[in-house]
Each structure stands twice: as C-alpha cells, then as structure tokens.
C-alpha cells in the first residue's frame, strides 16, 4: 500500500463493517446495529455515506444495454468478454464514482492580524469570531469542521444533533451539536470555555463533556486535562474587551493582552509565574490601558521600542 494513503477514521471503519454486514440478505443483528448507531449521531451519517455507493450499483448494471445475443443468465461482465479481474475492477471503479465518503477538498483560511478582529458566517449559519493574530482553517467540502490553527476564536454553532460540528486544535478534538464556546490555542495549552449548549472534548477517546459554565485546560503533550468553573458570560468577554482570570499566570495574561491589543507585550522573567485573579477591562487607547491595568496585575508596565514589557512593581506586592 502506498505511503500517501489517507487512512479511514475509526468511525468510517465501523461504518464500513456495518455496511458490509447489513448488505447481506441474511443479516439479523439489528439490535447490535441499533446500539452502534445510538453511540453517536455521526455514526448514522457515516453509515449512510458508506451505503450510498453500494446501493447505486444494481442501478448501473441494470441500465447497461443488452446486446442481441446476450444470455440473461450469464453475469453482465462475462457477457462483455471481461476477464474476472477486469470485471471486478470495472465494478469497483463504478462503485467508487458514486462514493461520497471522499468529496474533493476545497480548503480556505480566515486570518486576522494582531489586534484585528473578524467574524465570519459559515454556509450552515454557524459563526466564528476571530480575535487578533488568529487563524481558522476551513474546507467547503466539510461544512461542519474547522481547525483553530492559531490564537483564539469564539464559535457559535447552529444546532444539528445528526451532524455535529468538530473543531481540531493541535492534537485535540472538540465536538458539539449546537453551542457557543471559545477556544484559545497556546503553545503549551489549549483552553476551551462553554457559554451555551454542550461540547465534548476528545469525542472518540476520553469523551469529556462540558456544559455551560465549564472550562477545560488541555495540556499539549503529556498531562491530564483540568476542568474549571467559569462565568458563562465571561466566555465571550474578549469581544467587549473584558478578560477574566482565576489564578492565572501572568505570562498567559501577557499573551492575551498581546492578542487583544495588537501590540507586543513581553514579560520579565521574575514576574512570569505571578498569579492573577480578577477582571481586566481593555477600554480606550493602549497606553492608558497598559498603565491602568499593570498595578491591578501587581506589576509595572514599561513602554519599549516594540511595545510593552511587564516588570516587577516598585510597590510591595501582597
């Protein structure tokens, strides 16, 4: 098998097995089939796709014109003088031409510069709002799928339990039937917060369900995902310049400030691990914002040639 093969997903493999089984006239394990379908609404969708090409085949052989000397008892491929292997190949090609499991990819990306924001509507009515310095990769042939390649995005997903939306962020997958949730992609961690509806992290593995007011921190690489409670309203806070934190390290706050303000915000080694709990309101000119929030964070903001730098405060920090 060539190394450029795109393997079937687990769901597709399972759908294939059930398609092969149910195709048989003596199949009787309908209860087993029902149980598999009930595991996930996407299973029925995958099964339908697998069966479509299969069902199309009798139509095609029936419409093949019969020559005058054709013997209806002989299989159609023998009538045409095809060798058995060529016949199978011909059938397979016909089968494949009806196969709808692999529509032609039609990728596109939506990207924002640092500090800029953008909202897009997808074909199904779902919306994605990108924060600054972010990128989402999409594919018109896969309407209920997105990749958060960089930064932060708020997803408002149209409800469709039969066709859940999936977002991939690095190695993590999130599945949702109709919901509002926010994802931040950092190098070491992926943060997701749910405002409405339900999102499932790693649907085909750990299957961690998140309700409104729940957030999950998924480490990149080794480590367990950590669940937290949050205010549902805080999930989309960045859109109105409101950033909320519970015991968060300042280096992460600095990264968020950078993304939201569109300026470079460095942080001194000595205050990176300092903790912050509270809400920041990013209103008005960046200068004013940085000078106002620095003491709230327990640090001092220095203007640099490239942007800003958070350093130790002169004032004793409690």
């Amino acid at each position: 098998m060539s190394s450029s093969t795109i393997p079937l997903s687990d769901r597709e493999e399972a759908a294939l097995i059930w398609a092969i089984r149910t195709r048989d006239p003596h199949f009787a394990d309908w209860e087993g089939f029902t149980r598999w379908l009930e595991e996930d609404a996407a299973n029925a969708v995958a099964y339908d796709a697998m069966m479509v090409a299969d069902a199309a085949l009798p139509e095609m052989s029936a419409t093949a014109p019969l020559a005058a000397n054709d013997d209806p008892v002989t299989p159609f491929w023998r009538r045409r003088g095809l060798s058995s292997l060529a016949a199978v190949a011909a059938v397979a090609i016909l089968l494949l031409s009806y196969w709808q499991m692999a529509p032609r990819p039609d990728p596109y990306s939506i990207e924002t510069a640092p500090g800029a924001r953008r909202e897009i509507a997808l074909a199904d009515g779902s919306r994605i709002a990108l924060n600054g310095g972010s990128r989402v990769d999409l594919d018109r042939s896969r309407p209920r799928y997105a990749v958060l390649a960089r930064g932060e995005a708020l997803f408002t997903i149209r409800h469709d339990a039969a066709d859940p939306f999936e977002v991939t962020v690095g190695a993590a997958t999130f599945q949702d039937a109709g919901t509002i949730f926010n994802i931040v992609k950092a190098d070491d961690r992926i943060d997701i917060g749910v405002a409405e509806g339900k999102v499932i992290y790693d649907p085909r593995g750990q299957s961690i369900a998140l309700d409104p007011g729940q957030a999950l921190q998924v480490p990149v690489g080794q480590g367990t995902a950590v669940r937290r409670s949050i205010e549902p309203q805080a999930v989309s806070g960045w859109r109105t310049g409101r950033l909320s934190y519970q015991g968060e390290r300042l280096d992460r706050v600095a990264a968020d400030l950078s993304r939201n303000l569109g300026v470079r915000v460095d942080i001194d080694q000595r205050v990176r691990a300092q903790n912050f709990t509270g809400t920041l309101q990013l209103d008005g000119a960046i200068d004013g914002v940085m000078r106002r929030i620095a003491p709230v964070l327990g640090v001092r903001a220095q203007a640099t040639r490239d942007g800003w730098r958070l350093v130790e405060s002169d004032v004793p920090h409690s």
Partner: protein
Amino acid sequence: MAQGLEAVFLMHRDTLLRFLRARGAGDAAEDLVQEVWLRASGADSGPIAEPLSYLYRTANNLMLDRHRSHKRREQREQDWTDAESADPSVSEAPSAERVLLARDQLRRTQEELDALGERTATIFRLFRVEGVPQKQIATDLGVSLTTVEKHLQKAYRAMIELRRRFDAE
C-alpha cells in the same frame, strides 16, 4: 401473510421507532414507522421467514432512500450554484483526457485488487458482483463467516483509500 406480519409490527413498533431514531429520523420517526408498515405490508413477497428482520430491513432501506433523495437535492442545488458561478475562462478537460484518466484509474484499480490477493478479489466479486450471501460464500469456500467479512473489509477499505488518492491528484 399480512396478518402475521401485522402482529409482529404492532408488537415491535417501539423497537422500530427506536431504530429509526438511531438512524437519524428525529421528529419524523412516528411518520416514518407508518411508512415502514405501508411498504412492508404492501409488498407482494409471499410468506416471510424472518418477519422482524424484514421490518427492520424495510426501515433501513427507507432511511437510505431518504438520505439519497436528500443528497440528490443537494447535488442539484450545488450544480446550479456551480453553473451560476462558473468561470467562463476555465474549460472542462476534453473528453480524450477524461478517457485516458478513466483508463489509468481502471488499471490502477485492477492492480490494487490484484495486490490484495486472489482470495480477497474472489470474495469481493462473489459478494458484490454476483450477489452471493456471505454465509453462502463461507460455505462454498470452506471458510468462516468472520473470514469472509475480513476479506470484504480489506477490499472495501483498499477501494476507498484508492479513491482518496485519485481525488487528491
């Protein structure tokens, strides 16, 4: 006999509803289970050996038909959109090229099936081209049903992955 079938249907109506919902019927399940009955009782099939299985299969085929109609409608809408937005400066591949492409793909499909081995290709042909039931294939070839299933999986999987390679090219 329709009377016996009706008794089976009434006894298992809830099970069929559950199945239809699992297949994705949603709110339409109640309407669809009625349609299952209409199709099953209307068909001129004589005595039915496994009535419940027959009802399940009718329900399954009904859902497949719905899916295919839906897809056909989508395809028509997409074709219309494509036609409306088609770039007049981009022309379709001339038919000679398409014939060459089809022949090339046929050759590669033959090679792929060949590479799977004679047993796999034979089982695939018996099942898919000649419509022999899996149990019959197993008996005829003197292997287990699981073996037949595994060979079919192998063949279908190879065909799907080959198709993906064609599409990516």
